[in-house]
């Protein structure tokens, strides 16, 4: 789900930068309003490293492979810190491994940042869920839904920026195939977030939805 440089028209890349800057500013503002904004930084730092490394872990989904995304886990674990963490992780991925690009950093930040915020919103709902099975289901939906939302954003942005000289049908078919290949990833990330939040519920329940 990383759009590299040179794929999108300039308008979309600039729009992506503007949107990502706006979302990051809102998140930083919320973090700054907390009693101790530094309190969440150690966890945010470690999760950024996990997010950065996750893109190197490929899950084979024949005929190709997909890599872990973890934006749902970022949102669930970090809350408002998730978007700055995603932006930093994406910048490292672009510079070091060529995953994504610097011109498309904004667009990629939106593609992975918005699902992280959606996951955070769902985690807040989770705080009020008492039944363990219902809580597990909401946790699973948090992780799986984040992947599906990211895929939907990715496909929408790509189709909106499709240049006229490309064979639109072939590209649409390729995007559909890629989206379908992410369904097992949605399942896997749903399970990862359900396990992480399940553990947190047992050991540190006040942390869920508190950030």
């Amino acid at each position: 789900m990383h759009i590299p440089d040179g794929i999108l028209p300039i308008g979309l890349t600039l729009g992506g930068w503007a949107a990502a800057a706006g979302i990051t500013a809102i998140c930083l503002n919320r973090i700054g309003a907390q009693p101790d904004p530094r309190a969440g930084l150690p966890r945010a730092s470690m999760m950024t490293a996990a997010f950065f490394a996750a893109s190197l872990i490929h899950i084979p989904v024949p005929p190709s492979s997909v890599h872990l995304m973890l934006s749902g886990l970022m949102g669930a674990m970090l809350g408002w810190y998730a978007v700055p963490a995603v932006m930093i992780g994406l910048a490292f991925q672009a510079v070091m491994f060529g995953h994504g690009g610097l011109t498309t950093l904004g667009v990629n930040g939106v593609i992975l940042g918005l699902p992280a915020l959606a996951a955070f919103a769902l985690t807040r709902v989770l705080g009020g869920v008492r039944h363990p099975a219902a809580a597990a289901l909401v946790s699973f939906a948090t992780g799986a839904g984040a992947v599906l939302l990211a895929v939907a954003l990715f496909a929408t942005i790509l189709l909106a920026g499709l240049p006229a000289h490309l064979d639109a049908n072939a590209e649409r078919a390729a995007i559909t195939a890629l989206a379908l290949a992410h369904l097992p990833l949605a399942l896997a990330e749903g399970i990862i977030v359900a396990a992480a939040l399940g553990f947190l519920r047992r050991t540190n329940p006040e942390m869920i939805g508190a950030r």
Binding site: I3, L41, P42, T48, S64, F97, L158
Partner: protein
């Protein structure tokens, strides 16, 4: 009977004359060896970019592709630039993934290939080391802010 045969003969002759150009010429194939540019498109996992869309941009028109095509199942594509000197851009893309490459064709026909492939060609050991460096930085950041927090509390 005779006139019917003559009629059909005339029709046949007319058809022969009308279709003349196609039948009257032989076909020749000139075979020449030319310098071609070969593209091998792969994902960083090593998988070929099969049936990916290829757009070739000539040096004087970077907005409209000079040639469009598709890679084969092994992610390969071959083309021969015309005699325009300058930087030819090659874009290969599939489902939002892709890369640009460039070939500079000199006035004397020499080629200089530049691929834009950040991160490509790194070995697993190099990747692991880079991840380890970032992890180390993250651990350091985490410990720094934990320490600050503890001293504030104290």
């Amino acid at each position: 009977m005779l006139s019917a045969t003559a009629k059909s003969m005339t029709a046949w002759l007319a058809a022969l004359l009308l279709a003349g150009p196609a039948i009257a010429h032989g076909a020749f194939v000139d075979v020449t060896a030319v310098d071609a540019i070969g593209i091998d498109a792969r994902y960083d996992t090593g998988e070929p970019m099969a049936q990916a869309q290829v757009s070739i941009f000539a040096p004087d028109d970077p907005s409209q592709p000079w040639l469009r095509g598709q890679t084969d199942a092994a992610g390969r594509f071959v083309f021969t630039p015309d005699d325009r000197a300058g930087r030819w851009a090659i874009q290969v893309r599939q489902a939002g993934h892709g890369a640009m490459g460039y070939v500079t064709v000199g006035a004397d026909g020499t080629h200089n290939v530049v691929m834009n492939a950040a991160g490509a060609g790194l070995s697993w050991a190099q990747r692991l080391l880079m991840v380890a460096c970032v992890l180390w930085g993250a651990v350091g950041t985490a410990l720094y802010f934990r320490r600050n927090r503890q001293t504030t509390v104290v």
